[in-house]
Amino acid sequence: MSTLTQLQVGESLTEVQLEPVSRMDLIKYSGASGDFNPIHTIDDEAKKAGLPGIIAHGMWTMGNLAKLFTAYYEEGFIQDYSIRFKGMVFLNDVVTLRATLTEKQDPLLRFKVQAVNQQGNEVLKGEVVYHQYGH
């Protein structure tokens, strides 16, 4: 898919499967975002919080998902990005990112987006409203 304009309702962007989540991914996100909540990086703190192990920042997964749209920067921009965090992402989880066009209403493209883990469970879901520049 070279442009979003060609996409038909019901069609999806090329899905992306991330590498298994590593501790370094979460250390890097902590540093880059300034969110140093230790349940994302330190095992003992995660356990004290009642978790089986460290979990990814929800915003890490949400940030990753947006990259499905990055290559189209000349065509428009993400006007609205709304996410509900549904499940936790643990170390070594393999997350797949998806976006499907649900509605076209010039200049807006509405996408259903989701991230699922290797069991097929949704870890987040929501919507992207993409604003296309005049054409």
């Binding site: 880059a32 300034g34 349940i39 919080a49 915003m59 940030g63 920067y73 000349e74 006007q79 965090f85």
Partner: protein, 149 residues
């Protein structure tokens, strides 16, 4: 217990969309597209500059809401939204602040759950809103009890 905080807001804080911070953030979310860091790609784009990823406002300083004391542990990020009038451009100055939009409680799997909705804004020098965002923070009964003490 956060009901009396609704409507309170922080003072605006001057932030900058720093080139190095954008690159580091793009790397951290595995979205190292040249539009975020390569100057030539930025210059040749419709933005005439590099832009920042849509979730980048996570890193801004939104100031302090007087009297809003959130624990630094035990909070769950339930929902997040962003609304943009245009992408953020590298190098620009953004004035950021937050306010308490809503607070409500409802029965959940772990007892009476509290939902705190914070709304944040980023404005340009002229006061035009570039982006707004909402974060819904879920606070369990156990965590709230600790706060009351």
């Amino acid at each position: 217990m956060f009901n009396d905080q609704i409507g309170k807001q922080s003072n605006k804080v001057k932030n900058a969309v720093e080139r190095g911070a954008v690159k580091k953030f793009a790397e951290a979310i595995g979205d190292l597209h040249p539009i975020y860091f390569d100057e030539e790609t930025g210059r040749l784009s419709r933005y005439r500059n590099n832009i920042a990823p849509p979730t980048f406002p996570r890193i801004f300083d939104y100031g302090t809401i007087e009297g809003l004391n959130l624990p630094n542990k035990g909070l769950i990020h339930g929902e997040q939204t962003f609304h943009y009038s245009r992408p953020l451009v590298v190098g620009e100055v953004v004035y950021c602040y937050s306010k308490v939009k809503n607070y409500f409680e409802k029965k959940g799997n772990f007892g009476q759950m509290g939902f705190l909705v914070l709304e944040s804004f980023g404005e340009d020098e002229a006061g035009n809103v570039i982006f707004s965002s909402t974060s819904t923070i879920v606070i369990s009964e156990a965590v709230r009890k600790v706060l009351v003490k």
